[in-house]
């Protein structure tokens, strides 16, 4: 008798292989390869393309900052907003950006609770994207208040006028939801960064790097007594972020749903908005990660499998969104409410008809259907095309909801139309520049992939991997590494 598997056992193992999970890190990379490759992105000289991209996005960001300065010093009249369209591109952009942030929290928190190990390759950059998107989002309601220097009225601060905010207003809920969301996202992100900052500290060659990474790594030394508390904190932050992220876009949708306007006053809004946020956010994650993966040669860490899974999430959430679109039309018909029915006919055939046909129908409903096919999910160009459609489509969707709801009032005499000014356009384009510039800076100065988390999904990270005969169940991806 010996311990070698018999022929039958060998055959059984081979037969099981189609069911074995594909590896999450390709080409049998080891721990130090992961450290080298990811730290290298931060430590090596910035490649030329980085400077090219940063020059372009930085210039666009400057245009945006100029427009904000002009708008603040001149007044909200520099935007095209006018009654009846009191909310236009500003709130469209706010909802667009805050929605993008939601994918980052979904990846970092919800997929963590669901034990989706593939999240480890993408969670760090997705969380960074969340923070930058929320910053861009906060700009719009911030300056839309008109007198930015009075924005502190939003906070319940005791003041000598004895005035307090209205805590029953969905707009006030939004202030609390978005500021809590940003703060908790920063805490979660920084907690996750501490072990990786320690890696960069230990690899630092210059005094300045050693000092700065040393300060921000808080003296982390990988002790298991520390990991014990750290893992509990991480789990709890994930558990807290999960209901939080669902609440944030629900509260954003209350801004509309609590009004009496046709197309806004619906109970379907909270789940519809949350699904749309994750849908648009995943498209943005892929928009940023597909080029980053190619440029920094991260193909072994962000594998076709990761892109495939994100494409499936886009298809799933896109289906929720499509269902909500269809249900809105059904309820408009079924309610028998003349204003509601008119508003939806107007959405399809009114002045903004092409926004609906291209944005909602083509980009959001039809384009993700390509992801039913494995070939499309594995083809980078198709994935990128769909993501670009979804990015645009989700902006159009918010525009249709906001301006489409407002421009046809109950009384035809107060109907109007919205035309954006150059300040509207350049403020939005400027936030795209601010967002991408911040992301480029992040990629250069912080580890864009969570090294300590990716290492856990390697099979050799499993302390039970070397049991006799390999009969012990191995962590995901363990047996089938090619």
């Amino acid at each position: 008798m010996n311990d070698w598997p018999t022929v039958q056992e060998e055959a059984a193992t081979t037969a099981d292989r189609p069911l074995a999970r594909p590896p999450l890190v390709l080409n049998r990379r080891n721990f130090s390869w992961i450290t080298e490759r990811i730290s290298g992105v931060v430590e090596d000289r910035a490649p030329r393309w980085w400077w090219v991209c940063f020059t372009i996005t930085g210039t666009i960001a400057m245009f945006g900052l100029f427009c904000l300065g002009y708008q603040i010093s001149t007044g909200v009249g520099t935007w095209g907003n006018n009654i009846p369209v009191g909310w236009a591109w500003d709130i469209t952009n706010f909802v667009f950006w805050i929605g993008i942030g939601h994918a980052g929290t979904l990846i970092s928190a919800i997929l963590f609770l669901l034990r989706q190990k593939w999240r480890t390759s993408i969670n760090r950059s997705a969380e960074a994207m969340t923070l930058f998107a929320v910053m861009c989002a906060a700009i719009f309601p911030g300056v839309h208040v008109g007198r930015v220097w009075m924005a502190w009225y939003l906070a319940p601060v005791p003041n000598n006028y004895g005035i307090w905010p209205n805590f029953r207003s969905p707009l006030m809920w939004d202030v609390f939801a978005v500021s809590t969301y940003f703060t908790v996202s920063v805490l979660f992100w920084y907690t996750g960064l501490i072990p990786d900052l320690a890696t960069l500290r230990d690899r630092a060659t210059t005094k300045i790097r050693k000092f700065l990474f040393g300060v921000f790594a808080c003296g982390w030394r990988g002790s298991n007594r520390n990991w014990r508390h750290y893992e509990m904190a991480y789990l709890l932050l994930a558990g807290l972020s999960t209901p939080l992220v669902l609440s944030v876009h629900s509260v954003v949708s209350f801004d509309f749903a609590a009004s009496i306007l046709p197309t806004w006053h619906t109970t379907i809004f909270p789940p519809y908005f949350v699904a749309g946020a994750i849908f648009g956010g995943f498209a943005m994650v892929l928009t940023l990660l597909i080029p980053a993966r190619a440029i920094f040669k991260l193909h072994d860490i962000i594998t076709p499998q990761h892109i495939d899974k994100m494409a499936k999430i886009i298809l799933l959430t896109g289906s929720f969104v499509s269902y909500a679109y269809v249900m809105e039309f059904f309820v408009a018909w079924y309610s028998g409410n003349a204003y509601e029915r008119f508003a939806f006919w107007n959405r399809v055939l009114g002045p903004y008809w092409w926004y609906w046909w291209t944005g909602m129908l083509f980009c959001n409903i039809l384009s993700p259907q390509l992801f039913w096919f494995r070939w499309c999910r594995r083809n980078i160009l198709v994935v990128y095309f769909v993501c670009m459609c979804v990015n645009a489509g989700m902006w159009f969707e918010r525009f249709i909801i906001i301006v489409g709801g407002l421009h046809r009032d109950f009384i035809p005499s107060s109907w109007g139309i919205f035309v954006p000014t150059w300040v509207d356009i350049w403020t939005f384009v400027g936030t795209l520049g601010i967002f991408t510039s911040l992301f480029l800076l992040f990629v250069r100065f912080l580890p864009m992939i969570a090294m300590s988390e990716v290492k856990i999904v390697l099979p050799e990270a499993d302390a039970h991997a070397h049991s006799p005969n390999g009969h012990h169940p191995v962590a995901a991806g363990g047996m089938e590494r090619t």
Partner: protein
Amino acid sequence: MRTPSGHEVYAMGAEYPSPAALYEAAKMVRDAGFKRWDVFSPFPIHGMDEAMGLGKSWLSAVVLAGGISGLLTAVLVEFGPSWGLYPLIVHGKPYDWRTVPAFFPIMFEMTVLFSAFAAFFAVLIMNGLPRPHHPIFNWDRFSRVTNDGFFLVIEARDPRFTELEARELLERSGGQYITVVHED
């Protein structure tokens, strides 16, 4: 305890080739009855808490306390103005107890906010961080702990610590590069 060269001894450490080896070694050190010792790894190793004989982290209790204080803060901030300082009637809606459901979203957000702060500060305080310097950093091999090094360290202040016994145990458990780490 001092070395012949006059350095104060902090601990004796060993490096292990894999998480599995470190895991087995941790069980041996635990069973040998040591109390002041620790293992170090680039990532948390599944099952290591049990291998070291550590229980559940009670950080969760701090987070619960944080959440409760957040909820109470929201209750105070919302009911204070509404019931005393600044009763505000909007759309003719009530501002007495019947207004409570409209206060729930902010109560929820404040609960989450305070819980998250509690989790963040608790993980730092319970781990004794930030701590700019630690004697373990005197061991030159130790800088690989954030890359691919797996270490087990028995501190000299452990009552069972003797240089001979610690070295023998680390050798028996498969440790490599067994080193005396200095305090300064």
